[in-house]
Symmetry: C2
Subunit: 214 residues, 2 copies
């Protein structure tokens, strides 16, 4: 059975970002939160297009590789796509250039009137939907065929799907840092360990990989 | 050099207790938070007095054993000793019976007039101090001799010592549960990873042991 998956970054004190603004949508500490992931060979190959073999190949890289495996459709929140940063630009096509790294249909959630779909190079097509998340997930599931659907974030979108009981696999990469402020990952997710099995693994980088699976 | 040490329990979302009241000072989820520790052979031997050899002997037990090693004096907050639960009982002698498991001098922090010290069976003496935490620590350090001083909690006392830069080793046992509410461990501790080295280890029980050391 195809699964619904989420991968998120958090600090040890449970923050997924700090100082997020429309102009700085990833926030001030994104680099520290994602440092171990950005150091992996998989990130270099799949996101930076650097196939020279640089990058770490340990536990972090195993999770990074799994992140890219078997995903047939993706769902993104409006902010993650940039709709909150560029609300008045009807031609905004995302942060990722002409050839986004998705290579699959990407469903962007919006509360405004949906825009026409945007086909990009490399197999990515951006679709815009302002219907219930269950309906968007149903459409994405059909589009994904036998592959999984990934809810790509941001964290509030991820929480919406988690609270609605729609997520099979949540993988959180916890960096060994304390941010003290920001966007809180775990709020309103209490009891998730009752519906999902929890497993934990520590990478060479000190990153703790926590996985909730059902 | 003797060290100043803290061991704490927390949930994955950073809560050290839920629903604490003077009548229920450990809170509603204490059993779930401490289940892996309470299952160790060391806990059975050192706290329950059961030397029959029952209990887990893996990673959790290693940390539990270390918790009891080399401590020459302990510091407790008023609530942890029970002063908030029994404020009007001048003869209150703590929760631990006639022979408390400390076996060392225990300094109880209080904002009220200090009570006379209480010598107990088995080497424990409770002292009451309403001076600055630095002064209490200095006195406890002398009492501990060549051994370490442990700040035994509760979490607000632990945070006071951490924020004041007085703690060499913080060990947090993180249970793989999400409580969603309660007393927050990590508040105001951001940047602790800049003054201390962080290491992380996962036990067979799923408990994550995070240690900050300087």
């Amino acid at each position: 059975m195809p699964r619904v998956r989420i991968d998120l970054f958090a600090s040890l004190d449970g923050y997924t970002s700090t100082g997020q603004t429309p102009e700085n949508p990833m926030g001030e500490d994104w680099g520290r939160l994602t440092a171990a992931y950005a150091a992996t060979r998989t990130f270099h190959e799949r996101v930076l297009g650097d196939t020279s073999g640089v990058g770490t190949t340990g536990v972090d890289d195993s999770y990074a590789a799994a992140h890219f495996e078997g995903v047939g459709a993706e769902i993104l929140g409006a902010a993650m796509f940039g709709l909150h940063t560029f609300p008045d630009d009807p031609h905004w096509r995302g942060w990722w250039g002409d050839q986004p790294p998705f290579g699959i249909p990407v469903y962007v959630l919006t509360h405004t009137a949906p825009r026409p779909s945007i086909p990009m190079q490399g197999g990515t097509t951006f679709h815009f939907r302002n219907t219930a998340i269950e309906d968007v997930l149903a459409e994405a599931t059909v589009a994904a065929g036998r592959s999984d659907v990934r809810v790509g974030g941001g964290v509030s979108t991820a929480r919406d799907f988690l609270r609605a009981g729609l997520v099979d696999d949540l993988h959180v990469m916890i960096a060994p840092i304390l941010l003290g402020r920001g966007n809180r990952l775990w709020d309103s997710l209490d009891g998730l360990e009752l519906t999902h099995q929890v497993s934990t693994e520590v990478a060479e980088s000190g990153t703790t990989h926590v996985t909730f699976t059902r």
